[in-house]
């Protein structure tokens, strides 16, 4: 019998708000948070659109913090508060963090102005250090820092799951954070045609699974979840929110940015995750997609769903959160896990922004228009990233 692994605390900072309930409200409203980027350093760009994290000035009370660490700070505080861990329990908690691009905003700023670079900003483990020093989490425990591109959040959750399910940890704090609003990031993704370039209002640009999709919109933010061994959580009186049943990750060995149109690599990650969870495909009742709004991702993901679920695929509800939040790169998956935890607990599936029956481009039951009351028990989360990485996780709603 596998050790049961649950999530007992969730925090999220997203373009929809600085905490997870605001994030959920934004998802349920189904309206994109993207806007035109008007900050001076974006002036040379003919087309600069993004969905910045909605963090009011002064909310993070530590000046000089890199943006992604500031986002992580809020998410960690929220997740720890919900989990109810006391000081001793925090100290005994391990830490797994992830980011794809680290302190890119601050490094570009230093590059431009010739200023000094504060210690650690060339590195990728600032959030790990922050969780230790600010919140006393895992001061004397092992930590992992993952930087696996856009699957990083799910990979971090999977690594924490391995530790708890395998008996190496009772409790792990998982954090993913990304700050993307700087010219080098915008330019890099524009250069390869990954971003939406349509001549539409920014809030209409991201439209996962729509035939009008032409690329993603940059998002940013952070999420934190407390992953625990179920008996340990119950013993301290915590209320488990959702169960993690298994995960997997594969490499496509195909292309740094492209995905095979057949979706076979995404399907491979899904099948391995189901095998890890010891569940058949028929057990899955809903899907939370990577859903970037790029031509290739959404069609490949749809193909993978049909490959794995066969005739059932067309009837499985599919949620695509990036329509609202944009794509927060390495933090996106964990932000979506945070959203998933909240919407499953609320018994409702959020609609996909900007995609309607008239524009739907796939044979899937993509949730559109209005939030849909539903209580699926087993949900699969899929994700893909540059470098040909495909990761998937299986989660269970706890009634």
């Amino acid at each position: 019998m596998r050790r049961q692994v649950v999530i007992t605390g969730v925090g999220a900072v997203s373009p929809a708000g600085p905490e997870s309930k605001a994030h959920l409200s934004g998802l349920l409203a189904g309206r994109s948070m993207a806007r035109r980027l008007t900050e001076p350093w974006f002036a040379p760009f003919a087309h600069a659109t993004g969905a910045p994290a909605a963090v009011p000035a002064g909310l993070v009370d530590v000046p000089g913090l890199p943006n992604h660490v500031a986002f992580a700070d809020l998410a960690i505080a929220e997740a720890l508060a919900e989990s109810g861990l006391d000081e001793r329990e925090r100290a005994g908690t391990h830490v797994v963090t992830s980011t794809a691009i680290g302190a890119s905003v601050e490094l570009e700023t230093a590059f431009r102005d010739g200023g000094t670079v504060p210690p650690g900003q060339f590195g990728f483990d600032l959030v790990t250090d922050w969780a230790r020093t600010r919140y006393g989490v895992g001061r004397d425990r092992w930590s992992l820092t993952l930087s696996t591109g856009c699957t990083a959040g799910l990979d971090a959750l999977g690594s924490a799951y391995d530790a708890v399910a395998g008996g190496r940890a009772e409790r792990v704090l998982v954090v993913s954070a990304e700050a993307t609003m700087c010219p080098i990031v915008l330019a890099a993704f524009q250069k390869i045609g990954a971003l939406s370039a349509r001549d539409v209002e920014p809030h209409l640009a991201s439209c996962p699974f729509s035939r009008e999709r032409d690329g993603f919109v940059l998002g940013e933010g952070a999420a934190a979840v407390v992953v625990e061994h179920l008996p340990a959580a119950v013993a301290r009186g915590a209320a488990p929110l959702i169960e993690v049943l298994g995960w997997a990750s594969v490499s496509s060995a195909y292309h740094m940015t492209r995905i095979r149109k057949t979706g076979e690599d995404i399907a491979a990650s899904m099948r391995m995750a189901l095998a890890d969870a010891e569940l058949p495909p028929d057990a899955v009742e809903a899907l939370d997609a990577h859903g970037t709004s790029t031509r290739l991702n959404d069609s490949s993901e749809s193909a993978a769903y049909h490959d794995v679920f066969g005739a059932r695929a067309a009837g499985l509800p599919v949620v695509a959160q990036k329509g609202v939040t944009g794509h927060a790169l390495g933090a996106s998956n964990l932000m979506e896990i945070a959203g998933l935890t909240r919407y499953l607990t609320a018994g409702v599936l959020p609609p996909t922004a900007n995609t309607g029956p008239g524009t739907l481009d796939v044979e899937l039951d993509v949730v559109m228009g209005e939030p849909r009351p539903a209580e699926p028990e087993v949900v699969m989360k899929t994700s893909s990233g540059f470098s040909g990485i495909h990761s998937a996780a299986v989660l269970r709603r706890l009634s």
Partner: protein
């Protein structure tokens, strides 16, 4: 089912490091640190490794130097594998540490962005700079389709990569893990990481890659990496803390490489940085007949541990030697006393005093002996919390080289800490007991 791995078998090693005394001259120019002069000579490749003969031509213009050295090291390690050692593409994983990303590609691109505009940038910035770039280019070029991950802990990234590789092997996702560190600090901008008032590092390479190909123990003669672990204070038995190297992850991988290549007289603990440690068990200590050990977590605070070894003696003799607990202290190092409290056809009651985790324990165990099947089942009597139960079986199988002894323990406890305690004790004692039994028959046979 996940099987806990305590050891990883080393099947290949490869390095791509600058030669002793080799340096790369880094022009600090507009982007380098102030107050350090016009240039710095770093312990790095004098010529750009992207132009090395082993790099495919189509990769040269689209990758960073750290990806180039990683590619060369991984390709070489895989090239040394035998057909038996190399599994199918989807069973090979790649786990690389990279802690500073790729500024030999990224710095010129930032310069183009700032001075010439985004249109002047090259498309590969999006895929060359980030730490997972090497992982992607290598898996694509070498057709590796298993789980691949990149770790970035500044001090502990290499230990983290080993950790994730071990996890992937444990959950059965892959059969071979290529694990290493790949770094390159050879640009002015990234050298701003050291403020003017701080001395520059003075040890280890500033560029290079070291990789290890690892798999589950197969029983073949091999160097073995054991007990990947983390110590709370960041130091180990020798009190070694964070080093003063250019890149701690690369320095740690170099330390491990040196240890596995050294003609050691015994096992050696190697600091991996950030509190991670691993033990190198040289081939000299391991013969073909080595105790195979695996532990499987079977539920909440419950596990099964299986140990086996070929004992050089006839099955009847080995069985009898094991049945007669009064002889245990002769060859089982952990046992200080053992006696029968009662013997009957229904079963024996034995009392054993032994050391476990440096503490002396006495307990009674009820045993059922089946001479026809060559098995001895045992179950601890009156287990006291935190131990809930401890039972198992000795099984003896006659073979051409002697008798294969299989010792299985099933145990349950009340907490993770106690599960770890009994896991450590069971593994240590079962290994020593089986080795003692083999040594006894080996010595007896020689007399």
């Amino acid at each position: 089912m996940r099987t806990v791995l305590h050891e990883l078998e080393l099947v290949a090693v490869s390095t791509r490091l600058p030669a002793d005394g080799e340096t790369a001259r880094i022009a600090l120019g507009a982007y380098g640190p102030r107050g350090r002069g016009d240039h710095l000579d770093l312990p790095a490749f004098a010529t750009d490794p992207r132009q090395a003969p082993g790099i495919p031509t189509h990769l040269r213009k689209r990758i960073d130097r750290f990806s180039a050295v990683a590619y060369l090291a991984v390709a070489e390690a895989l090239a040394t594998l035998t057909a038996e050692q190399r599994p199918a593409a989807d069973r090979i994983g790649l786990f690389l540490a990279n802690t500073r990303a790729g500024w030999s590609y990224g710095e010129p691109e930032l310069g183009l962005l700032v001075h010439s505009g985004a249109e002047s940038m090259h498309a590969y910035q999006a895929t060359a700079w980030f730490p997972a770039a090497a992982q992607g280019e290598i898996t694509i070029e070498l057709d590796l389709r298993g789980c691949a991950k990149t770790t970035s802990g500044s001090e502990s990234g290499f230990g983290e990569a080993l950790w994730l590789a071990r996890d992937a092997l444990e959950r059965g996702a892959i059969d071979l893990a290529v694990v290493g560190a790949a770094e390159s600090l050879v640009t002015g901008f990234v050298l701003r990481d050291w403020a003017q008032q701080h001395p520059l590092p003075d040890s280890g390479p500033a560029e290079g890659a070291v990789v290890f190909a690892l798999r589950r123990p197969s029983g073949s003669p091999a160097v073995v990496l054991g007990e990947l672990r983390h110590r709370a204070d960041g130091t180990g038995p020798d009190g070694i803390g964070p080093d003063g190297s250019w890149v701690p992850t690369l320095a740690a991988a170099v330390r491990l490489h040196r240890s596995v290549g050294r003609p050691a007289t015994g096992s050696e603990s190697v600091a991996l940085g950030g509190g991670y440690w691993i033990t190198v068990i040289p081939m000299k200590e391991r013969t073909v007949n080595t105790v195979l050990s695996e532990t499987t977590v079977t539920g909440d605070y419950a596990a099964v541990a299986r140990h086996e070894l070929v004992i050089p003696g006839p099955v009847a003799d080995v069985f009898e030697m094991t049945r007669d607990v009064t002889r245990w202290s002769e060859y089982m190092p952990a046992v200080t006393a053992a006696a029968f409290r009662s013997e009957s056809t229904d079963g024996d009651l034995v009392e054993i005093t032994a050391e476990a985790n440096n503490q002396k324990h006495t307990w009674q165990s009820r045993r059922t002996v089946d001479r026809a099947a060559w098995t001895i089942d045992f179950s601890r009597v009156g287990a006291v919390e935190p131990l809930l139960s401890m039972e198992g079986r000795w099984q003896f199988i006659a073979g051409e080289d002697g008798t294969r002894a299989v010792l299985t323990h099933r145990y349950a406890t009340t907490s993770q800490d106690s599960l770890d305690f009994y896991g450590d004790a069971t593994r240590s004692n079962a290994t020593r007991d089986l080795e003692g039994l083999a040594e006894y028959f080996s010595t007896k046979a020689n007399r």
